[in-house]
């Protein structure tokens, strides 16, 4: 098959699934709707594999497929095509999206089986997959932006899926509005690039990236990339716009796994990796990205420690892990950023689906204080969740270990890195180990705190199979990107496949030299040791000695309250930004609109009405009055004629 046909099927399949399930949205059968939705994504997955195999057959420097369906708009020098670009980066990304997406569709069949709106649900999911493909494959920033907005819409619809609950509907709106702020920045970034480079085609932009680093803050490339990064902070939930993601957990759990952990929220990272030559040319932007990423890592991880909702813990964990990806981007380790994106997609999707399985088994209960000892009731969920836990805390040999330690090493070693970034990263990793172990302890281990009336049960096979596949990927997914120093001690010296694969399209920052192996081993040992200590500490506190942690939180109650209330960031935003704007608008309404603009229009209206009321009285519908007018008119006309 030629490439155009494959790409057409790739796009058409989820779009058709969306339309079919959308038309039959009032049907309640989860199996039929799920079969349509899952099959649509599976076809896309097969197409992605075919494209990937085709890329394999090409020369490493010429691995690209460019499909153009026609011109979208051509105004003066602005030329945008319906063009899609498949290369090393986007082919892997669509594999993750359709592959993980398919597993999550499969999981949803069981999870949503009791829901009346299941057809609508699957149509939204397919709509999301379609837009995500547009985002990833679009060959210009405008096409990318179309997908970017499309996934935002799908996210809004799915967060507010149970919109009869006002709080959930509000969460959807919050996500949408916060993303709007980021999108505005993204648009400005696009404008800057169009004005200065005259094109929005991603490949052309990348080839035009200056080779001389821009050292000022107000250079074209620095400003443009900063604004694009502003867009990424919205979509990928970084400081200061991360606040929507934890609330987004109001949606169905598989949605959290697909959109708010594995795929959509990584769009910002993907965009930066996609435009890496431009970002490399702007060291100041990269510094901002690294600092914001590192701060987000620590902030989100610390909030995660004090959350009691199983999904909220995972949500803050996602924000924190996204911070790692941005940290990697910021220090110029784009391959590593993508590597972490991939492993995170596996283990975080796994953990979200695992939490979905727990919530399903607990009949909707999400509070981990009311769980405990679930290992006995949900053995398979526990086993798979444990794989995700081992991966995220960075257990050597699991996928998360390879990607996270590579990020930490690069943040220390890269010419754009700094030891402070490494310290923040390690603090984040230590906290990650703590809150994830806490989550494991409170949910699966220790004494059961489950209400007597509740009988937790294991999930059906359609929900367990995705868990098994993702668990396997979480364990072995890291072996495509083994860091060099580890591969040297492994038998057969396996190469870093991912780095090799990305080598033609991802540039490295200038001045990057080979690192000192002893140093790298030392730092790796330090971070693993710290994570291990905090894991043991968490285990001791939450399983062996639960009263100690209670006493401890009592002692530091003010700090504990602050953390568990998420540092009052939402309240700060409301106090300093949202409410003043609302008050300003109210005043504008009450004084400018009502007292001035309305007055003016009323006055003009009254004038017209007054002048009209006189003329209106002449035309009263009375026949004789009209005859009188004719008579008077005749007399006047005749007397004028006679007096002349």
């Amino acid at each position: 098959m030629d490439h155009t046909a494959i790409v057409s099927v790739l796009f058409a399949s989820p779009l058709l699934g969306f339309l079919i399930n959308g038309i039959r949205r009032n049907h309640h059968s989860a199996n039929v709707a799920g079969a349509i939705g899952s099959l649509a994504v599976f076809i896309s997955f097969v197409c992605s594999i075919l494209l990937w195999i085709d890329l394999q057959g090409m020369a490493p420097d010429a691995r690209r497929i460019h499909v153009v369906y026609g011109s979208w708009m051509a105004i003066e020098s602005l030329k945008i095509d319906f063009g899609f670009w498949i290369d090393q980066l986007s082919s892997l990304m669509i594999l993750i999206i359709t592959g993980v997406g398919f597993l999550i569709h499969l999981f949803s069949v069981g999870y949503m089986s009791h829901d009346k709106g299941v057809a609508k649900y699957f149509s939204y999911l397919n709509f999301f997959i379609f837009n995500m493909l547009v985002l990833v494959l679009g060959d210009s920033l405008v096409t990318l932006f179309v997908g970017w907005e499309g996934v935002g819409l799908a996210s809004y619809l799915l967060i507010g899926f149970w919109f009869t609950d006002g709080e959930k509907a509000a969460a959807g709106m919050k996500a949408f509005i916060v993303n709007r702020i980021g999108d505005a920045a993204f648009l400005i970034g696009m404008f800057i690039f169009f004005v200065s480079f005259g094109t929005l085609n991603i490949q052309e932009l990348n080839s035009m990236a200056p080779t001389i680093m821009e050292s000022t803050w107000f250079g074209i490339v620095t400003l443009g990339t900063l604004f694009l990064f502003g867009g990424a902070t919205g979509k990928s939930a970084q400081i200061p716009l991360y606040i929507w993601l934890p609330d987004a957990m109001a949606g169905p759990t598989p949605v959290s796994a697909l959109i708010h952990a594995a795929t959509m929220v990584t769009a910002g990272v993907y965009m930066i990796v996609r435009l890496n030559p431009l970002f490399i040319a702007a060291p100041n932007t990269m510094m901002v990205i690294a600092v914001i990423g590192a701060l987000t890592v620590v902030l989100a991880a610390s909030i995660g420690i004090a959350q009691n909702d199983i999904k909220k813990v995972l949500a803050y964990s996602t924000v924190s892990q996204l911070g790692y990806m941005f940290l990697a981007c910021g220090v110029g380790a784009f391959t590593t950023a993508f590597f972490h994106l991939m492993t995170h997609a596996f283990f975080k999707a796994l953990m979200f689906l695992g939490s979905g399985s727990v919530i399903h088994g607990m009949e909707g209960e999400q509070d981990i204080r009311k769980m405990g000892g679930l290992k006995k009731y949900l053995p398979w969920t526990h086993l798979t969740f444990m794989m995700g836990w081992l991966a995220i805390i960075g257990t050597p040999g699991f996928s998360g270990f390879f990607s996270k330690d590579e990020i930490l090493w690069m943040s220390f070693h890269s010419p754009r890195g700094h030891w402070a970034l490494w310290v923040l990263g390690v603090i984040g990793a230590t906290m990650t180990a703590f809150y994830m172990t806490r989550l494991m302890c409170l949910t699966f281990w220790g004494k059961s705190r489950v209400a007597k009336t509740l009988h937790p049960h294991e999930s059906p096979a359609t929900m367990l199979i995705p868990l098994f596949v993702l668990a396997a990927l979480s364990v072995v997914g890291g072996y495509v990107g083994i860091p060099h120093i580890i591969s040297e001690i492994l038998p057969g010296h396996p190469a870093n496949i991912l780095e090799h694969w990305f080598q033609p399209i991802i540039k490295t920052v200038p001045g990057l030299v080979a690192g000192d192996p002893a140093m790298e081993w030392g730092l790796m040992g330090a971070s693993v040791a710290l994570a291990l200590i905090s894991t043991i500490l968490a285990y001791q506190l939450y399983v062996k000695n639960p009263s100690a942690i209670e006493r401890f939180t009592q002692k530091i109650n003010p700090i504990y309250q602050l953390v568990s209330k998420k540092y009052l960031v939402d309240e700060l935003y409301f106090g300093f930004i949202v409410n003043p704007i609302v008050r300003l608008s109210e005043n504008l309404w009450a004084y400018i609109d009502v007292r001035f603009i309305d007055k003016c229009t009323y006055w003009a209206g009254d004038l017209m009405k007054g002048s009209g009321s006189f003329v209106r009285s002449l035309q009263n519908g009375n026949l004789q009055t009209y005859a009188m007018y004719i008579g008077i008119g005749l007399v006047v006309a005749l007397s004028l004629v006679m007096m002349r």
């Binding site: 519908g621 009375n622 026949l623 004789q624 005859a627 009188m628 008579g631």
Partner: protein
Amino acid sequence: MINADFIVDVGISHYLILSAILFSLGMIGVLLRKNAIVMLMSIELMLNAVNLSFITFSKYNSHIDGQIMVFFVMTIAAAEAAVGLALIVSIFKRYKEVNIRFFEHLKG
């Protein structure tokens, strides 16, 4: 202008003044009366006032055209009276009254 001659010698201005008076009376009747039959009568009066002036000018100009015209006017007056009375009868059947304001109900 009004002197003994004027009263004794009846000429063209007498006829025309009479005609104008009759026409004005008819017009006032049409404008002010509410009874449809009286209004119809007033219209007849106006038509006949016009007829009078036609005949006057015909006589003084020694020209037959004005008198021919009068026949036409009388024919039309007869037709008009027929139509008008028919309308008045149907209005009366409906409202038991022939006030002109009921004619407003005829509009679509």
